[in-house]
Protein backbone atom coordinates (compact mmCIF):
# COMPACT_ATOMS: atom_id res chain seq x y z
CA UNK A 1 0.00 0.00 0.00
CA UNK A 2 1.12 3.53 -0.56
CA UNK A 3 0.52 6.68 1.40
CA UNK A 4 0.44 10.22 0.08
CA UNK A 5 2.45 12.62 2.18
CA UNK A 6 1.29 16.18 2.68
CA UNK A 7 -1.76 16.13 0.48
CA UNK A 8 -4.37 17.81 2.59
CA UNK A 9 -7.47 18.76 0.66
CA UNK A 10 -8.45 22.41 0.89
CA UNK A 11 -11.72 22.85 2.71
CA UNK A 12 -14.08 24.81 0.55
CA UNK A 13 -16.21 27.25 2.46
CA UNK A 14 -19.66 27.12 1.00
CA UNK A 15 -22.65 29.27 1.79
CA UNK A 16 -25.12 27.43 3.99
CA UNK A 17 -28.50 26.91 2.46
CA UNK A 18 -31.44 26.54 4.79
CA UNK A 19 -33.19 23.66 3.10
CA UNK A 20 -31.29 21.22 0.98
CA UNK A 21 -33.10 19.96 -2.08
CA UNK A 22 -31.20 16.68 -1.88
CA UNK A 23 -32.25 16.05 1.69
CA UNK A 24 -35.89 16.93 1.12
CA UNK A 25 -36.17 14.94 -2.10
CA UNK A 26 -34.27 11.92 -0.78
CA UNK A 27 -36.13 11.81 2.51
CA UNK A 28 -39.59 12.27 1.03
CA UNK A 29 -39.09 9.61 -1.64
CA UNK A 30 -37.78 7.20 0.96
CA UNK A 31 -40.61 7.97 3.36
CA UNK A 32 -43.19 7.36 0.64
CA UNK A 33 -41.46 4.13 -0.43
CA UNK A 34 -41.08 2.95 3.15
CA UNK A 35 -44.66 3.78 4.09
CA UNK A 36 -46.09 2.12 1.00
CA UNK A 37 -44.01 -1.00 1.66
CA UNK A 38 -45.18 -1.21 5.25
CA UNK A 39 -48.78 -0.47 4.34
CA UNK A 40 -48.79 -2.62 1.17
CA UNK A 41 -51.57 -4.95 2.43
CA UNK A 42 -53.80 -1.92 3.08
CA UNK A 43 -52.84 0.07 -0.01
CA UNK A 44 -52.63 -2.58 -2.70
CA UNK A 45 -55.87 -2.74 -4.71
CA UNK A 46 -55.35 -6.41 -5.60
CA UNK A 47 -53.72 -9.55 -4.29
CA UNK A 48 -50.25 -9.31 -5.91
CA UNK A 49 -50.24 -13.00 -6.86
CA UNK A 50 -53.79 -13.11 -8.25
CA UNK A 51 -53.82 -14.06 -11.92
CA UNK A 52 -56.59 -12.69 -14.09
CA UNK A 53 -55.91 -14.21 -17.48
CA UNK A 54 -58.80 -12.35 -19.12
CA UNK A 55 -56.99 -9.10 -18.37
CA UNK A 56 -53.45 -10.03 -19.47
CA UNK A 57 -50.95 -7.37 -20.55
CA UNK A 58 -53.20 -4.35 -20.06
CA UNK A 59 -51.26 -1.05 -20.28
CA UNK A 60 -51.41 1.65 -17.58
CA UNK A 61 -54.78 3.37 -17.38
CA UNK A 62 -53.76 6.53 -19.27
CA UNK A 63 -53.14 4.48 -22.40
CA UNK A 64 -55.66 3.02 -24.79
CA UNK A 65 -56.99 -0.36 -23.55
CA UNK A 66 -55.94 0.61 -20.04
CA UNK A 67 -58.32 -0.21 -17.18
CA UNK A 68 -59.28 2.05 -14.28
CA UNK A 69 -58.98 -0.74 -11.77
CA UNK A 70 -55.35 -1.40 -12.80
CA UNK A 71 -53.72 2.06 -12.70
CA UNK A 72 -50.29 0.77 -13.77
CA UNK A 73 -51.53 -2.06 -15.95
CA UNK A 74 -51.21 -5.81 -15.65
CA UNK A 75 -48.47 -8.30 -16.49
CA UNK A 76 -48.38 -11.38 -18.73
CA UNK A 77 -50.41 -13.37 -16.20
CA UNK A 78 -52.90 -10.59 -15.58
CA UNK A 79 -51.47 -9.63 -12.19
CA UNK A 80 -51.85 -6.03 -11.04
CA UNK A 81 -48.52 -4.17 -11.46
CA UNK A 82 -49.21 -1.53 -8.82
CA UNK A 83 -49.97 -4.13 -6.16
CA UNK A 84 -46.86 -6.09 -7.10
CA UNK A 85 -44.69 -2.97 -6.91
CA UNK A 86 -46.05 -2.17 -3.46
CA UNK A 87 -45.42 -5.68 -2.17
CA UNK A 88 -42.05 -5.86 -3.94
CA UNK A 89 -40.91 -2.85 -1.94
CA UNK A 90 -41.23 -4.90 1.24
CA UNK A 91 -38.63 -7.32 -0.07
CA UNK A 92 -36.25 -4.78 -1.60
CA UNK A 93 -36.25 -2.38 1.32
CA UNK A 94 -36.50 -5.12 3.95
CA UNK A 95 -33.64 -7.17 2.54
CA UNK A 96 -31.59 -4.02 1.92
CA UNK A 97 -32.02 -2.70 5.45
CA UNK A 98 -31.37 -5.98 7.24
CA UNK A 99 -28.38 -6.88 5.06
CA UNK A 100 -26.85 -3.43 5.59
CA UNK A 101 -27.40 -3.65 9.33
CA UNK A 102 -25.74 -7.05 9.43
CA UNK A 103 -22.77 -6.01 7.35
CA UNK A 104 -22.37 -2.75 9.29
CA UNK A 105 -22.35 -4.60 12.62
CA UNK A 106 -19.74 -7.07 11.38
CA UNK A 107 -17.63 -4.54 9.53
CA UNK A 108 -17.64 -1.86 12.21
CA UNK A 109 -16.74 -4.35 14.93
CA UNK A 110 -13.87 -5.86 12.97
CA UNK A 111 -12.71 -2.45 11.70
CA UNK A 112 -12.65 -1.10 15.26
CA UNK A 113 -10.67 -4.08 16.50
CA UNK A 114 -8.20 -3.94 13.60
CA UNK A 115 -7.62 -0.22 13.85
CA UNK A 116 -7.50 0.02 17.62
CA UNK A 117 -5.40 -2.97 18.53
CA UNK A 118 -3.26 -3.20 15.40
CA UNK A 119 -0.68 -5.95 15.28
CA UNK A 120 -1.66 -9.45 14.30
CA UNK A 121 -5.40 -8.94 14.60
CA UNK A 122 -5.12 -6.01 12.20
CA UNK A 123 -3.02 -7.96 9.71
CA UNK A 124 -5.36 -10.93 9.75
CA UNK A 125 -8.54 -8.88 9.40
CA UNK A 126 -7.17 -6.71 6.62
CA UNK A 127 -5.92 -9.73 4.68
CA UNK A 128 -9.40 -11.24 4.85
CA UNK A 129 -10.74 -7.92 3.58
CA UNK A 130 -8.33 -8.05 0.62
CA UNK A 131 -9.47 -11.57 -0.24
CA UNK A 132 -13.14 -10.58 -0.29
CA UNK A 133 -12.35 -7.53 -2.40
CA UNK A 134 -10.58 -9.67 -5.00
CA UNK A 135 -13.53 -11.96 -5.70
CA UNK A 136 -16.20 -10.53 -8.02
CA UNK A 137 -19.01 -9.80 -5.58
CA UNK A 138 -21.91 -11.00 -7.69
CA UNK A 139 -20.23 -14.36 -8.44
CA UNK A 140 -19.45 -14.99 -4.79
CA UNK A 141 -23.00 -14.18 -3.72
CA UNK A 142 -24.54 -16.19 -6.55
CA UNK A 143 -22.32 -19.20 -5.85
CA UNK A 144 -23.04 -19.25 -2.13
CA UNK A 145 -26.76 -18.49 -2.43
CA UNK A 146 -27.20 -21.24 -4.96
CA UNK A 147 -25.19 -23.73 -2.91
CA UNK A 148 -27.25 -23.04 0.21
CA UNK A 149 -30.53 -22.82 -1.68
CA UNK A 150 -32.13 -19.47 -2.48
CA UNK A 151 -34.44 -18.06 0.18
CA UNK A 152 -35.10 -14.74 1.88
CA UNK A 153 -32.84 -15.63 4.80
CA UNK A 154 -29.96 -16.91 2.64
CA UNK A 155 -29.98 -13.77 0.53
CA UNK A 156 -29.84 -11.51 3.59
CA UNK A 157 -27.15 -13.54 5.34
CA UNK A 158 -24.92 -13.93 2.30
CA UNK A 159 -25.17 -10.29 1.26
CA UNK A 160 -24.44 -9.14 4.79
CA UNK A 161 -21.60 -11.56 5.36
CA UNK A 162 -19.77 -10.70 2.15
CA UNK A 163 -20.13 -6.94 2.12
CA UNK A 164 -18.85 -6.07 5.63
CA UNK A 165 -15.31 -5.62 4.29
CA UNK A 166 -16.15 -2.15 2.98
CA UNK A 167 -17.23 -1.00 6.43
CA UNK A 168 -14.17 -2.60 8.01
CA UNK A 169 -11.79 -0.78 5.67
CA UNK A 170 -13.25 2.66 6.23
CA UNK A 171 -13.67 2.27 9.99
CA UNK A 172 -10.16 0.91 10.45
CA UNK A 173 -8.59 3.80 8.56
CA UNK A 174 -10.55 6.26 10.68
CA UNK A 175 -9.74 4.55 13.97
CA UNK A 176 -6.03 4.55 13.14
CA UNK A 177 -6.01 8.34 13.39
CA UNK A 178 -8.56 8.65 16.19
CA UNK A 179 -6.63 6.43 18.56
CA UNK A 180 -3.65 8.80 18.38
CA UNK A 181 -5.67 11.83 19.42
CA UNK A 182 -5.20 13.43 22.86
CA UNK A 183 -8.63 12.68 24.24
CA UNK A 184 -8.08 8.96 23.75
CA UNK A 185 -4.69 9.16 25.45
CA UNK A 186 -6.33 11.18 28.22
CA UNK A 187 -9.10 8.67 28.71
CA UNK A 188 -6.54 5.90 28.75
CA UNK A 189 -4.47 7.71 31.36
CA UNK A 190 -7.56 8.00 33.53
CA UNK A 191 -7.53 4.24 33.70
CA UNK A 192 -10.33 3.36 31.28
CA UNK A 193 -10.21 -0.17 30.01
CA UNK A 194 -9.89 -0.98 26.33
CA UNK A 195 -13.53 -1.89 25.76
CA UNK A 196 -14.76 1.31 27.38
CA UNK A 197 -12.22 3.35 25.42
CA UNK A 198 -13.47 1.79 22.21
CA UNK A 199 -17.16 2.23 22.88
CA UNK A 200 -17.18 5.57 24.67
CA UNK A 201 -14.36 7.44 23.00
CA UNK A 202 -13.33 5.91 19.69
CA UNK A 203 -16.63 4.71 18.21
CA UNK A 204 -18.58 7.96 18.69
CA UNK A 205 -15.86 9.81 16.81
CA UNK A 206 -15.96 7.36 13.92
CA UNK A 207 -19.73 7.61 13.49
CA UNK A 208 -19.83 10.08 10.60
CA UNK A 209 -18.24 7.83 7.97
CA UNK A 210 -20.26 4.90 9.30
CA UNK A 211 -23.53 6.76 8.80
CA UNK A 212 -22.57 7.87 5.31
CA UNK A 213 -21.33 4.39 4.37
CA UNK A 214 -24.59 2.88 5.60
CA UNK A 215 -26.67 4.93 3.18
CA UNK A 216 -24.38 4.27 0.22
CA UNK A 217 -24.29 0.55 1.03
CA UNK A 218 -28.07 0.48 1.34
CA UNK A 219 -28.27 1.68 -2.26
CA UNK A 220 -25.84 -1.05 -3.26
CA UNK A 221 -27.81 -3.75 -1.45
CA UNK A 222 -31.08 -2.70 -3.10
CA UNK A 223 -29.45 -2.90 -6.52
CA UNK A 224 -27.91 -6.29 -5.80
CA UNK A 225 -30.97 -7.83 -4.22
CA UNK A 226 -32.87 -7.01 -7.38
CA UNK A 227 -29.97 -8.28 -9.50
CA UNK A 228 -30.15 -11.62 -7.70
CA UNK A 229 -33.91 -11.73 -8.17
CA UNK A 230 -33.45 -10.76 -11.79
CA UNK A 231 -31.10 -13.71 -12.29
CA UNK A 232 -33.57 -15.99 -10.53
CA UNK A 233 -31.45 -16.46 -7.42
CA UNK A 234 -33.23 -14.18 -5.02
CA UNK A 235 -36.35 -14.55 -2.99
CA UNK A 236 -38.42 -17.18 -4.76
CA UNK A 237 -41.82 -16.65 -6.38
CA UNK A 238 -44.70 -16.16 -5.83
CA UNK A 239 -43.40 -13.36 -3.57
CA UNK A 240 -43.14 -10.41 -5.96
CA UNK A 241 -39.81 -8.57 -6.04
CA UNK A 242 -38.77 -5.67 -8.23
CA UNK A 243 -35.94 -7.66 -9.79
CA UNK A 244 -38.24 -10.58 -10.54
CA UNK A 245 -40.76 -8.25 -12.20
CA UNK A 246 -38.01 -6.78 -14.37
CA UNK A 247 -36.94 -10.22 -15.41
CA UNK A 248 -40.56 -11.12 -16.29
CA UNK A 249 -40.74 -8.02 -18.44
CA UNK A 250 -37.66 -9.06 -20.37
CA UNK A 251 -39.70 -11.14 -22.82
CA UNK A 252 -42.21 -8.36 -23.49
CA UNK A 253 -39.85 -5.48 -24.28
CA UNK A 254 -41.30 -5.01 -27.75
CA UNK A 255 -44.96 -5.44 -26.90
CA UNK A 256 -45.51 -4.30 -23.30
CA UNK A 257 -43.04 -1.59 -22.28
CA UNK A 258 -44.54 -1.09 -18.81
CA UNK A 259 -43.60 -4.56 -17.58
CA UNK A 260 -39.87 -3.83 -17.40
CA UNK A 261 -39.97 -0.04 -17.26
CA UNK A 262 -42.06 0.46 -14.14
CA UNK A 263 -40.12 -1.78 -11.74
CA UNK A 264 -36.87 -0.40 -13.21
CA UNK A 265 -38.01 3.17 -12.57
CA UNK A 266 -39.00 2.22 -9.04
CA UNK A 267 -35.59 0.73 -8.30
CA UNK A 268 -33.84 3.73 -9.81
CA UNK A 269 -35.93 6.25 -7.89
CA UNK A 270 -35.30 4.44 -4.60
CA UNK A 271 -31.56 4.15 -5.17
CA UNK A 272 -31.40 7.78 -6.32
CA UNK A 273 -33.15 8.90 -3.14
CA UNK A 274 -30.81 6.89 -0.92
CA UNK A 275 -27.75 8.22 -2.76
CA UNK A 276 -28.92 11.84 -2.54
CA UNK A 277 -29.49 11.43 1.15
CA UNK A 278 -26.03 9.89 1.55
CA UNK A 279 -24.37 12.70 -0.41
CA UNK A 280 -26.18 15.29 1.62
CA UNK A 281 -25.23 13.60 4.90
CA UNK A 282 -21.58 13.50 3.83
CA UNK A 283 -21.47 17.15 2.82
CA UNK A 284 -23.29 18.24 5.94
CA UNK A 285 -21.45 16.12 8.48
CA UNK A 286 -17.95 16.28 7.00
CA UNK A 287 -17.24 17.66 3.53
CA UNK A 288 -13.72 16.26 3.53
CA UNK A 289 -14.93 12.72 3.93
CA UNK A 290 -14.11 10.34 1.12
CA UNK A 291 -16.09 7.14 1.21
Amino acid sequence: MSVIVGAAAPVAIRPRRRVSFRAVFGLSVLLVMGASAVLAPQLAPWDPAKQMLMKRLRPPMWQERGLREHPLGTDHLGRDILSRLLYGGRISLGVGLTAVTLSALLGVTLGLLAGFFGGRADTLIMRIVDVFLAIPYILLVMGVVFALGPSLLTVILVMGATRWVHFARVVRADVLSIREREFVAGARARGNRALRLLLRHVLPNALTPIIVMTTLELAFMIIYESALSFLGLGVQPPTPTWGWMLSDGRNYLATAWWLATLPGLTIMLTVLAVNLLGDWLRDTLDPRLKV
Partner: protein, 317 residues
Protein backbone atom coordinates in the same frame (compact mmCIF):
# COMPACT_ATOMS: atom_id res chain seq x y z
CA UNK B 1 0.29 6.78 13.71
CA UNK B 2 2.73 4.06 14.53
CA UNK B 3 6.34 4.80 13.69
CA UNK B 4 6.85 4.01 10.05
CA UNK B 5 10.05 2.69 8.60
CA UNK B 6 10.73 3.73 5.04
CA UNK B 7 11.37 0.89 2.67
CA UNK B 8 13.47 0.76 -0.43
CA UNK B 9 11.67 0.41 -3.73
CA UNK B 10 12.90 -3.14 -4.06
CA UNK B 11 11.59 -4.33 -0.73
CA UNK B 12 8.32 -2.48 -1.38
CA UNK B 13 7.83 -4.40 -4.62
CA UNK B 14 8.82 -7.67 -2.94
CA UNK B 15 6.37 -7.09 -0.09
CA UNK B 16 3.60 -6.11 -2.45
CA UNK B 17 4.17 -9.30 -4.44
CA UNK B 18 4.06 -11.41 -1.31
CA UNK B 19 0.89 -9.71 -0.23
CA UNK B 20 -0.74 -10.53 -3.57
CA UNK B 21 0.23 -14.16 -3.18
CA UNK B 22 -1.34 -14.14 0.28
CA UNK B 23 -4.58 -12.78 -1.14
CA UNK B 24 -4.62 -15.49 -3.80
CA UNK B 25 -4.10 -18.12 -1.12
CA UNK B 26 -7.11 -16.71 0.72
CA UNK B 27 -9.14 -16.77 -2.49
CA UNK B 28 -8.23 -20.44 -2.92
CA UNK B 29 -9.66 -21.23 0.53
CA UNK B 30 -12.96 -19.59 -0.37
CA UNK B 31 -13.08 -21.26 -3.77
CA UNK B 32 -12.43 -24.61 -2.11
CA UNK B 33 -15.10 -23.97 0.50
CA UNK B 34 -17.62 -23.13 -2.23
CA UNK B 35 -17.80 -26.78 -3.32
CA UNK B 36 -18.25 -28.06 0.22
CA UNK B 37 -21.01 -25.58 1.01
CA UNK B 38 -23.28 -27.58 -1.25
CA UNK B 39 -23.17 -30.43 1.22
CA UNK B 40 -22.11 -33.66 -0.41
CA UNK B 41 -20.44 -32.96 -3.77
CA UNK B 42 -21.11 -36.49 -5.01
CA UNK B 43 -24.82 -35.67 -4.97
CA UNK B 44 -24.09 -33.10 -7.68
CA UNK B 45 -22.59 -35.75 -9.92
CA UNK B 46 -24.91 -38.69 -9.46
CA UNK B 47 -28.59 -38.89 -10.27
CA UNK B 48 -30.92 -38.62 -7.28
CA UNK B 49 -31.84 -42.31 -7.36
CA UNK B 50 -28.17 -43.43 -7.24
CA UNK B 51 -27.47 -46.42 -5.01
CA UNK B 52 -25.73 -45.85 -1.68
CA UNK B 53 -22.89 -48.10 -2.83
CA UNK B 54 -22.23 -46.01 -5.94
CA UNK B 55 -22.16 -42.86 -3.84
CA UNK B 56 -19.60 -44.44 -1.53
CA UNK B 57 -17.47 -45.58 -4.46
CA UNK B 58 -17.47 -42.14 -6.03
CA UNK B 59 -16.61 -40.53 -2.70
CA UNK B 60 -13.57 -42.76 -2.42
CA UNK B 61 -12.63 -42.14 -6.04
CA UNK B 62 -12.77 -38.36 -5.62
CA UNK B 63 -10.90 -38.57 -2.31
CA UNK B 64 -13.81 -37.02 -0.43
CA UNK B 65 -13.25 -39.31 2.55
CA UNK B 66 -9.86 -37.75 3.30
CA UNK B 67 -9.56 -35.07 5.97
CA UNK B 68 -10.55 -31.62 4.67
CA UNK B 69 -7.05 -30.17 4.86
CA UNK B 70 -5.62 -32.97 2.71
CA UNK B 71 -8.37 -32.34 0.19
CA UNK B 72 -7.51 -28.63 0.28
CA UNK B 73 -3.80 -29.23 -0.29
CA UNK B 74 -4.64 -31.52 -3.19
CA UNK B 75 -7.00 -28.91 -4.64
CA UNK B 76 -4.43 -26.15 -4.26
CA UNK B 77 -1.56 -28.08 -5.82
CA UNK B 78 -3.74 -28.85 -8.82
CA UNK B 79 -5.12 -25.32 -9.06
CA UNK B 80 -1.63 -23.83 -9.10
CA UNK B 81 -0.95 -25.91 -12.20
CA UNK B 82 -4.18 -24.68 -13.74
CA UNK B 83 -6.03 -27.94 -13.18
CA UNK B 84 -9.52 -27.33 -11.80
CA UNK B 85 -10.86 -30.63 -13.04
CA UNK B 86 -13.43 -31.39 -15.71
CA UNK B 87 -16.56 -29.34 -16.05
CA UNK B 88 -19.44 -31.62 -14.95
CA UNK B 89 -21.64 -30.37 -17.74
CA UNK B 90 -19.26 -30.04 -20.68
CA UNK B 91 -16.79 -32.79 -19.75
CA UNK B 92 -13.82 -30.64 -20.79
CA UNK B 93 -11.19 -29.12 -18.52
CA UNK B 94 -12.72 -26.05 -16.84
CA UNK B 95 -9.75 -23.93 -17.78
CA UNK B 96 -10.19 -24.71 -21.48
CA UNK B 97 -13.74 -23.36 -21.33
CA UNK B 98 -12.52 -20.22 -19.62
CA UNK B 99 -9.75 -19.74 -22.16
CA UNK B 100 -12.38 -19.88 -24.90
CA UNK B 101 -14.68 -17.30 -23.32
CA UNK B 102 -12.26 -14.94 -21.56
CA UNK B 103 -11.32 -12.95 -24.70
CA UNK B 104 -14.98 -11.98 -25.22
CA UNK B 105 -15.23 -10.79 -21.61
CA UNK B 106 -11.98 -8.85 -21.75
CA UNK B 107 -13.12 -7.21 -24.97
CA UNK B 108 -16.42 -6.18 -23.40
CA UNK B 109 -14.78 -4.98 -20.18
CA UNK B 110 -12.09 -3.02 -22.01
CA UNK B 111 -14.68 -1.44 -24.30
CA UNK B 112 -16.86 -0.51 -21.31
CA UNK B 113 -13.93 1.00 -19.45
CA UNK B 114 -12.64 2.84 -22.52
CA UNK B 115 -16.08 4.27 -23.18
CA UNK B 116 -16.40 5.33 -19.55
CA UNK B 117 -13.01 7.06 -19.60
CA UNK B 118 -13.51 8.76 -22.97
CA UNK B 119 -16.80 10.29 -21.85
CA UNK B 120 -16.23 10.76 -18.13
CA UNK B 121 -12.77 12.32 -17.95
CA UNK B 122 -13.42 15.25 -20.33
CA UNK B 123 -16.91 15.70 -18.90
CA UNK B 124 -15.64 15.79 -15.32
CA UNK B 125 -12.81 18.17 -16.14
CA UNK B 126 -15.04 20.53 -18.12
CA UNK B 127 -17.58 20.49 -15.30
CA UNK B 128 -14.82 21.50 -12.89
CA UNK B 129 -13.49 24.25 -15.15
CA UNK B 130 -16.98 25.66 -15.74
CA UNK B 131 -18.19 25.15 -12.21
CA UNK B 132 -21.88 25.91 -11.58
CA UNK B 133 -22.57 26.28 -15.29
CA UNK B 134 -25.33 24.52 -17.19
CA UNK B 135 -22.76 21.97 -18.32
CA UNK B 136 -21.83 21.25 -14.71
CA UNK B 137 -25.50 20.77 -13.82
CA UNK B 138 -26.10 18.42 -16.76
CA UNK B 139 -23.02 16.48 -15.71
CA UNK B 140 -24.22 16.17 -12.09
CA UNK B 141 -27.63 14.92 -13.14
CA UNK B 142 -25.97 12.39 -15.44
CA UNK B 143 -23.74 11.20 -12.61
CA UNK B 144 -26.70 10.79 -10.25
CA UNK B 145 -28.76 8.87 -12.78
CA UNK B 146 -25.79 6.74 -13.83
CA UNK B 147 -25.13 5.72 -10.25
CA UNK B 148 -28.74 4.91 -9.53
CA UNK B 149 -29.45 2.91 -12.66
CA UNK B 150 -29.01 -0.83 -12.26
CA UNK B 151 -27.04 -2.34 -15.14
CA UNK B 152 -29.73 -4.95 -15.90
CA UNK B 153 -32.39 -2.29 -16.28
CA UNK B 154 -30.21 0.00 -18.38
CA UNK B 155 -29.42 -3.02 -20.56
CA UNK B 156 -33.13 -3.74 -21.07
CA UNK B 157 -33.85 -0.07 -21.85
CA UNK B 158 -31.04 0.04 -24.40
CA UNK B 159 -32.38 -3.10 -26.06
CA UNK B 160 -35.90 -1.68 -26.01
CA UNK B 161 -34.90 1.62 -27.62
CA UNK B 162 -31.91 0.89 -29.86
CA UNK B 163 -32.43 -2.72 -30.84
CA UNK B 164 -36.20 -3.29 -30.81
CA UNK B 165 -37.34 0.29 -31.46
CA UNK B 166 -34.79 1.87 -33.75
CA UNK B 167 -33.08 -1.30 -34.93
CA UNK B 168 -29.64 0.36 -34.93
CA UNK B 169 -27.77 -2.35 -33.06
CA UNK B 170 -28.29 -6.07 -32.50
CA UNK B 171 -29.95 -6.97 -29.20
CA UNK B 172 -27.86 -10.02 -28.47
CA UNK B 173 -24.83 -12.06 -29.41
CA UNK B 174 -21.27 -11.20 -30.37
CA UNK B 175 -20.98 -10.45 -34.04
CA UNK B 176 -18.75 -7.57 -35.00
CA UNK B 177 -18.33 -4.11 -33.54
CA UNK B 178 -22.00 -3.15 -33.79
CA UNK B 179 -22.92 -5.88 -31.31
CA UNK B 180 -20.41 -4.47 -28.82
CA UNK B 181 -22.01 -1.02 -28.59
CA UNK B 182 -25.05 -1.74 -26.39
CA UNK B 183 -23.43 -4.12 -23.88
CA UNK B 184 -20.37 -1.87 -23.49
CA UNK B 185 -22.62 1.14 -22.87
CA UNK B 186 -24.69 -0.72 -20.28
CA UNK B 187 -21.59 -2.03 -18.55
CA UNK B 188 -19.66 1.24 -18.66
CA UNK B 189 -22.43 3.56 -17.47
CA UNK B 190 -21.90 3.06 -13.76
CA UNK B 191 -18.13 3.51 -14.01
CA UNK B 192 -18.68 6.52 -16.22
CA UNK B 193 -20.68 8.18 -13.46
CA UNK B 194 -18.11 7.43 -10.80
CA UNK B 195 -15.10 8.44 -12.91
CA UNK B 196 -16.75 11.72 -13.95
CA UNK B 197 -17.41 12.51 -10.34
CA UNK B 198 -13.81 11.72 -9.35
CA UNK B 199 -12.39 13.67 -12.28
CA UNK B 200 -14.47 16.71 -11.36
CA UNK B 201 -13.59 16.73 -7.68
CA UNK B 202 -9.93 15.88 -8.42
CA UNK B 203 -9.66 18.75 -10.87
CA UNK B 204 -11.33 21.19 -8.47
CA UNK B 205 -8.89 20.16 -5.79
CA UNK B 206 -5.87 20.67 -8.03
CA UNK B 207 -7.13 24.02 -9.31
CA UNK B 208 -7.25 25.25 -5.72
CA UNK B 209 -3.60 24.36 -5.10
CA UNK B 210 -0.97 27.03 -4.57
CA UNK B 211 1.15 26.07 -7.55
CA UNK B 212 -1.76 26.63 -9.92
CA UNK B 213 -2.34 30.07 -8.47
CA UNK B 214 1.37 30.82 -8.68
CA UNK B 215 1.50 29.69 -12.29
CA UNK B 216 -1.44 31.93 -13.09
CA UNK B 217 0.07 34.86 -11.24
CA UNK B 218 3.30 34.35 -13.18
CA UNK B 219 1.32 35.10 -16.30
CA UNK B 220 1.27 31.64 -17.80
CA UNK B 221 -1.72 31.30 -20.07
CA UNK B 222 -4.80 29.68 -18.57
CA UNK B 223 -4.81 27.06 -21.28
CA UNK B 224 -1.29 25.93 -20.38
CA UNK B 225 -1.96 26.05 -16.64
CA UNK B 226 -5.05 23.95 -17.04
CA UNK B 227 -3.83 21.34 -19.43
CA UNK B 228 -0.14 21.15 -18.58
CA UNK B 229 0.01 21.64 -14.83
CA UNK B 230 -3.39 20.90 -13.40
CA UNK B 231 -4.47 18.04 -15.61
CA UNK B 232 -1.31 16.03 -15.02
CA UNK B 233 -1.77 16.14 -11.29
CA UNK B 234 -5.47 15.47 -11.43
CA UNK B 235 -4.78 12.34 -13.47
CA UNK B 236 -2.89 10.56 -10.69
CA UNK B 237 -5.84 9.38 -8.56
CA UNK B 238 -7.60 8.34 -11.74
CA UNK B 239 -4.95 5.71 -12.38
CA UNK B 240 -5.84 3.79 -9.22
CA UNK B 241 -9.49 4.05 -10.07
CA UNK B 242 -8.89 2.44 -13.44
CA UNK B 243 -7.53 -0.69 -11.74
CA UNK B 244 -10.37 -0.93 -9.27
CA UNK B 245 -12.96 -0.16 -11.93
CA UNK B 246 -11.63 -2.92 -14.11
CA UNK B 247 -12.28 -5.40 -11.32
CA UNK B 248 -15.77 -4.03 -10.71
CA UNK B 249 -16.50 -4.18 -14.43
CA UNK B 250 -15.40 -7.83 -14.56
CA UNK B 251 -18.06 -8.51 -11.93
CA UNK B 252 -20.62 -6.34 -13.74
CA UNK B 253 -19.93 -8.29 -16.92
CA UNK B 254 -21.66 -11.29 -15.31
CA UNK B 255 -25.02 -9.53 -15.49
CA UNK B 256 -24.40 -7.65 -18.73
CA UNK B 257 -23.39 -10.81 -20.55
CA UNK B 258 -26.52 -12.58 -19.36
CA UNK B 259 -28.77 -9.82 -20.69
CA UNK B 260 -27.07 -9.46 -24.05
CA UNK B 261 -26.26 -13.16 -24.53
CA UNK B 262 -22.60 -12.17 -24.81
CA UNK B 263 -20.55 -15.38 -24.98
CA UNK B 264 -18.11 -14.51 -22.19
CA UNK B 265 -16.96 -15.85 -18.83
CA UNK B 266 -19.83 -14.13 -17.01
CA UNK B 267 -22.51 -15.96 -18.92
CA UNK B 268 -20.52 -19.16 -18.58
CA UNK B 269 -20.47 -18.59 -14.81
CA UNK B 270 -24.21 -18.01 -14.51
CA UNK B 271 -24.81 -21.06 -16.63
CA UNK B 272 -22.40 -23.11 -14.50
CA UNK B 273 -24.06 -22.03 -11.27
CA UNK B 274 -27.50 -23.01 -12.51
CA UNK B 275 -26.32 -26.38 -13.78
CA UNK B 276 -24.48 -27.03 -10.49
CA UNK B 277 -21.23 -27.29 -12.43
CA UNK B 278 -19.07 -26.49 -9.41
CA UNK B 279 -15.59 -27.24 -10.82
CA UNK B 280 -16.33 -24.66 -13.49
CA UNK B 281 -17.67 -22.15 -10.96
CA UNK B 282 -14.55 -22.63 -8.85
CA UNK B 283 -12.26 -22.14 -11.83
CA UNK B 284 -14.05 -18.98 -12.97
CA UNK B 285 -14.00 -17.38 -9.51
CA UNK B 286 -10.29 -18.23 -9.17
CA UNK B 287 -9.37 -16.88 -12.60
CA UNK B 288 -11.32 -13.62 -12.22
CA UNK B 289 -9.91 -13.02 -8.73
CA UNK B 290 -6.37 -13.64 -10.01
CA UNK B 291 -6.93 -11.18 -12.83
CA UNK B 292 -8.14 -8.60 -10.33
CA UNK B 293 -5.14 -9.10 -8.04
CA UNK B 294 -2.64 -8.89 -10.91
CA UNK B 295 -4.23 -5.75 -12.38
CA UNK B 296 -4.23 -4.02 -9.02
CA UNK B 297 -0.64 -5.00 -8.38
CA UNK B 298 0.39 -3.44 -11.69
CA UNK B 299 -1.69 -0.33 -11.01
CA UNK B 300 -0.14 0.08 -7.57
CA UNK B 301 3.36 -0.15 -8.98
CA UNK B 302 2.57 2.30 -11.78
CA UNK B 303 1.01 4.63 -9.25
CA UNK B 304 4.05 4.77 -7.00
CA UNK B 305 6.15 5.41 -10.08
CA UNK B 306 3.89 8.30 -11.18
CA UNK B 307 3.62 10.06 -7.85
CA UNK B 308 7.00 10.80 -6.27
CA UNK B 309 5.33 12.05 -3.09
CA UNK B 310 4.49 8.49 -2.22
CA UNK B 311 6.71 6.79 0.28
CA UNK B 312 6.64 3.13 1.10
CA UNK B 313 5.81 2.53 4.68
CA UNK B 314 6.02 -0.65 6.62
CA UNK B 315 2.89 -0.19 8.68
CA UNK B 316 0.67 0.11 5.65
CA UNK B 317 1.64 -3.30 4.41
Amino acid sequence: MAPQARLSLFSFVARRLLQSLGVLLGVSVIVFALLHLTGDPTRLLLPLEAREEDVRQLRALLGLDDPLWIQYVRFLSRAVRGDFGLSFKHQVPALTLIAQTLPATLQLTAAGLALALVVAVPAGILAALKRNSVLDAVCSVGVLLGQAMPVYWLGLLLIMVFAVGLGWFPAAGRDGLASLVLPATALGAFSMARIARMARSGMLEVLAQDYVRTARAAGIRTFLVTYKYALKNAAIPLVTIVGLEFGILLGGAVITETIFAWPGVGRLAVDAIFSRDYPLVQAIVAVLATLFVVINLVVDLVYTYLDPRIVYVRSAL
